[in-house]
C-alpha cells in the first residue's frame, strides 16, 4: 500500500505532509514538556527562596516575626505575590493569606489545594516545620496552567495547519501533474489514432514537464522523418525500378524473337538492377546501423592519399586531372571502409559527370571541432534547381539523365556522413563545384 502510494504525486505529497506533521507533533511535545518543567522549577525556586527568608525571620524573632512578615507581604500584594500559611503546633492558624483544603505535610507539594476568598486554587507549596509551628509558602499554579494551555493550543493549531496545507498541496500538485500529463496523453492518443502531426503543447517554462514535452516532440519528429523517408524510398523504388524492369522485359522479348544481342543487353540490365538494390540496401544499412557500430580511429590523411592514388590513373586515362591538398596527421573516429566508399562515390561522380579536361581537387581542412573533406571540380556543375535534391535517393540532375548512374551515390555519401555524426553538403565557389563531407573530431 505504502509502496504504491509513493508512485503517485498525490501520494508523495501526502507522505511528505504526514512526515512534517509528525515532526511538528514531536517538536511540540518536547517544547511543551521542557517549558512546563522550567516553569515548575522556577516556581519551586521562588517558594524555596521565600521560605529561606521567612525561616531566617523565625530564627530571629520567632513565629511572631514570621506572622508580621506575612502581614507586611500581604499588604504589598500584587499579581505575582506568593501565599502564606503559618500554623502552630496544634494546627491553629497564626497568620494566613489562604485556607488549605487539606492538612499540610512537610516537604514539597506539587498540587496544594487552597481557598482564597471565594476562589479555590492549586499551588506549588513548600511546607517547612518551624519551632512551635509550621510554615507553608504557596505559589499559585494559575500562570503555569495558562502558559501550558497557550503552548498546547499553539502547537495543535500548527499541526492542524500543517496537515491541512499538506493535504491541500497534495491535491493541488496531483491535479496539476495530472493536468500536465493529460496533455501528453491526449497527444499520444491522437497519434495512436493516426494523426502523426500532433505534438505535445509546450509552455516555454523550461520546467521538467516542458523539457519532457520538448524531448517527446523531438522523438516524434525523428520518427516522422524516418517514416517519411521510408515512404519516400518505397515510392522511389517502385517508380525507379519500373523503367529498368520494363526494359528488361522488352529485351527478353527480343531475345525470345531470336535477337542475339538482346541476351547480353538483358544481362547488363539485370546487373544494373542488382546494383541499384545493393546501393539501396547499403544506404539502409548505413542509416540503420552506423550510429551503433563501434568506430575506430582512422588516419584520414592516409585514407585520402590512398583514394587519390587509387583513382588518379583513371582520372588521367579519361583526360581529367586530380590534385590533392591534404595536410598530414588528420585523424577521425570512423569506419574506414564506409568513408572509402563515400570518397569513392564522390571521385566517380567527377569521372562520370564532368567532361575531359576538368580538374578536381581533393582537399581536407581541420577546423576547431571538425574535419572537412572536399572534392571540388571546375566542371559545369549542377544547376541550382537540381542542387537542392541532389542528396536524395534517385535524385539526378536533369542533364545527367542520359548518362550512367542511379542517383544513389550522393544519398549514400550523406548517409555515411550522418552515420559518423557529421553531414555532407554542396560547396560552391565562383569557379568550382564540389561536395564537402564534414566529420566531427
Amino acid at each position: 500500500m505504502l509502496a504504491r502510494l509513493w508512485r503517485s504525486t498525490f501520494g508523495i505529497v501526502v507522505l511528505v505532509a504526514l512526515a512534517f506533521s509528525a515532526a511538528t507533533l514531536a517538536i511540540g511535545t518536547i517544547a511543551y514538556e521542557v517549558t512546563h518543567e522550567a516553569l515548575e522549577e522556577q516556581l519551586d525556586h521562588r517558594v524555596a527562596v521565600e521560605t529561606r527568608a521567612l525561616v531566617a525571620e523565625a530564627r530571629e524573632g520567632g513565629l511572631a516575626a514570621v506572622s508580621e512578615a506575612i502581614r507586611l507581604r500581604e499588604n504589598a500584594r500584587n499579581e505575582a505575590s506568593l501565599d502564606y500559611l503559618l500554623i502552630d503546633r496544634a494546627g491553629r492558624t497564626i497568620a494566613a493569606t489562604i485556607i488549605p483544603l487539606a492538612a499540610p505535610t512537610p516537604g514539597y507539594q506539587e498540587h496544594f489545594g487552597f481557598r482564597r476568598g471565594d476562589a479555590t486554587g492549586v499551588g506549588q507549596a513548600l511546607v517547612t516545620p518551624l519551632r512551635g509551628g509550621m510554615l507553608v509558602v504557596v505559589a499559585d499554579r494559575r500562570d503555569l496552567a495558562a502558559i501550558d494551555r497557550t503552548l498546547a493550543s499553539l502547537f495543535a493549531t500548527a499541526l492542524a495547519a500543517m496537515l491541512a496545507l499538506g493535504i491541500g498541496a497534495a491535491v493541488l500538485v496531483g491535479w496539476l501533474t495530472r493536468r500536465r500529463l493529460s496533455r501528453i496523453d491526449a497527444t499520444a492518443q491522437a497519434i495512436i489514432a493516426g494523426d502523426l502531426t500532433q505534438r505535445v503543447p509546450r509552455d516555454g517554462s523550461d520546467s521538467e514537464f516542458d523539457r519532457l514535452a520538448a524531448t517527446l516532440n523531438r522523438m516524434l519528429d525523428r520518427i516522422a522523418a524516418l517514416m517519411d523517408n521510408l515512404r519516400q524510398v518505397s515510392t522511389d523504388v517502385a517508380h525507379d525500378l519500373r523503367t529498368p524492369l520494363t526494359r528488361l522485359c522488352n529485351q527478353l522479348d527480343r531475345a525470345a524473337d531470336g535477337d542475339p544481342g538482346a541476351i547480353e543487353a538483358a544481362r547488363r540490365q539485370a546487373d544494373d538492377l542488382l546494383e541499384i538494390f545493393a546501393a539501396l540496401l547499403r544506404i539502409a544499412e548505413v542509416e540503420g546501423l552506423a550510429e551503433r557500430r563501434a568506430l575506430g580511429s582512422i588516419d584520414l590523411s592516409a585514407l585520402l592519399e590512398d583514394m587519390a592514388e587509387t583513382y588518379r590513373p583513371d582520372f588521367e586515362a579519361s583526360g581529367h586531372l586530380l590534385s590533392t591538398d591534404i595536410p598530414a596527421n588528420l585523424h577521425v573516429e570512423g569506419d574506414r571502409r564506409l568513408l572509402a566508399q563515400a570518397l569513392s562515390n564522390l571521385l566517380e561522380n567527377v569521372l562520370r559527370h564532368t567532361p575531359p579536361g576538368t580538374t578536381a581537387t581533393l582537399a581536407a581542412t581541420a577546423t576547431q571541432d571538425a574535419i572537412e573533406m572536399t572534392l571540388e571540380d571546375n566542371g559545369p556543375g549542377v544547376p541550382p534547381a537540381d542542387a537542392r535534391r541532389l542528396f536524395q535517393r534517385f535524385a539526378r540532375a536533369e542533364a545527367s539523365r542520359t548518362t550512367n548512374g542511379h542517383g544513389l551515390g550522393l544519398a549514400l555519401v550523406r548517409a555515411i556522413s550522418f552515420g559518423h555524426g557529421g553531414d555532407a553538403h554542396l560547396s560552391r565557389s565562383e569557379r568550382a563545384f564540389g561536395v564537402t563531407i564534414r566529420l566531427p573530431k
Binding site: L281, L289, Y311, N404, G405
Partner: protein, 225 residues
C-alpha cells in the same frame, strides 16, 4: 575436391552442384541445416559451401556447431544479405570466406580454390616473395624481374604482392578489392583493371612473356613460368 553444398534454394543448389561437378569436383548436397551439419561432421570434405539462411538450423549456427566439434573444413558462406555486420558475424562465427548473392560462378570457384589451398601461416622472416623470375621484397619494398629493378607505386606493389602470395591461383576482382584496397563495396570505375594494366606494363617492359595472366571472366593469376 570433395565439396558439400548446404543450400535450401533448389535452383541455386542445382546450379552450383552442376557447375562444380563439371569442373571435376565431387559434390554432395544437403537441403537443410540439420542434415548439412550431419553430413559435414561425417567428414571427408575439402570445402563446404553453406547458405546463411537455412531451414532447421541456420548457416551461422551450423558453422559454429561444426567448429565447436573441432572440424576445421574450410567453409564458404553464401548470403543474400551482404551487410557489413552480417559479414563480420559470419566470419567471426567460423566461416572462412563470405560471398554475397548474386555471385558469378567463376567467383565461387576462385574462392573455393583459394580456400582449399590456403597457404600455411607464414613466419615473419619470409619477407621475400619469389614467383618465376620476379622477386618482391616486402621489407625493402622493392621488386626485381630477372634482376632488373621495377619501380612501382604503392598500390601496384600491394597488388603484385597479393598476386605473388597466391601463385597459380585465380584472384578475382572482388578478392583483390577486398585484400589490396580493403573495399567491401564494388566501385563502378574499373580501378582494379586500371592499376593492373599499369602494373603489367611496368613489369613487362623489356620482356616478351606477360608476367600476369588474365583469366577471362574470372580474374588474374601469376603463374611464374
Amino acid at each position: 575436391m570433395r565439396i558439400l553444398i548446404v543450400e535450401d534454394d533448389a535452383d541455386t543448389r542445382a546450379f552450383v552442384a552442376q557447375g562444380l561437378g563439371q569442373a571435376g569436383h565431387q559434390v554432395a548436397v544437403s537441403e537443410d541445416g540439420r542434415d548439412g551439419l550431419f553430413q559435414a561432421t561425417g567428414g571427408g570434405f575439402d570445402a563446404i559451401v553453406v547458405d546463411r539462411m537455412l531451414p532447421g538450423l541456420d548457416g551461422l549456427a551450423l558453422v559454429k556447431a561444426l567448429r565447436a566439434a573441432g572440424n576445421v573444413t574450410p567453409v564458404l558462406m553464401l548470403t543474400a544479405v551482404g551487410g557489413i555486420a552480417d559479414r563480420v558475424e559470419g566470419l567471426e562465427g567460423g566461416a572462412d570466406d563470405y560471398l554475397v548473392k548474386p555471385f558469378a560462378f567463376s567467383e565461387l570457384v576462385a574462392r573455393l580454390n583459394a580456400l582449399s589451398r590456403r597457404p600455411a601461416p607464414r613466419g615473419d622472416d619470409t619477407h621475400l616473395l619469389r614467383v618465376g623470375d620476379i622477386i618482391l621484397d616486402l621489407h625493402r619494398r622493392t621488386v626485381e624481374r630477372d634482376s632488373r629493378r621495377v619501380t612501382l607505386q604503392p598500390r601496384e606493389f600491394a597488388l603484385l604482392a597479393e598476386l605473388m602470395r597466391n601463385p597459380r591461383r585465380v584472384m578475382t576482382r572482388t578478392m583483390l578489392l577486398e585484400r589490396v584496397w580493403d573495399f567491401d563495396f564494388d566501385p563502378k570505375t574499373n580501378i582494379v583493371e586500371t592499376h593492373l594494366s599499369r602494373l603489367r606494363s611496368k613489369l613487362n617492359a623489356g620482356f616478351d612473356a606477360d608476367a600476369i595472366e588474365t583469366v577471362r571472366g574470372a580474374g588474374y593469376m601469376i603463374r611464374g613460368e
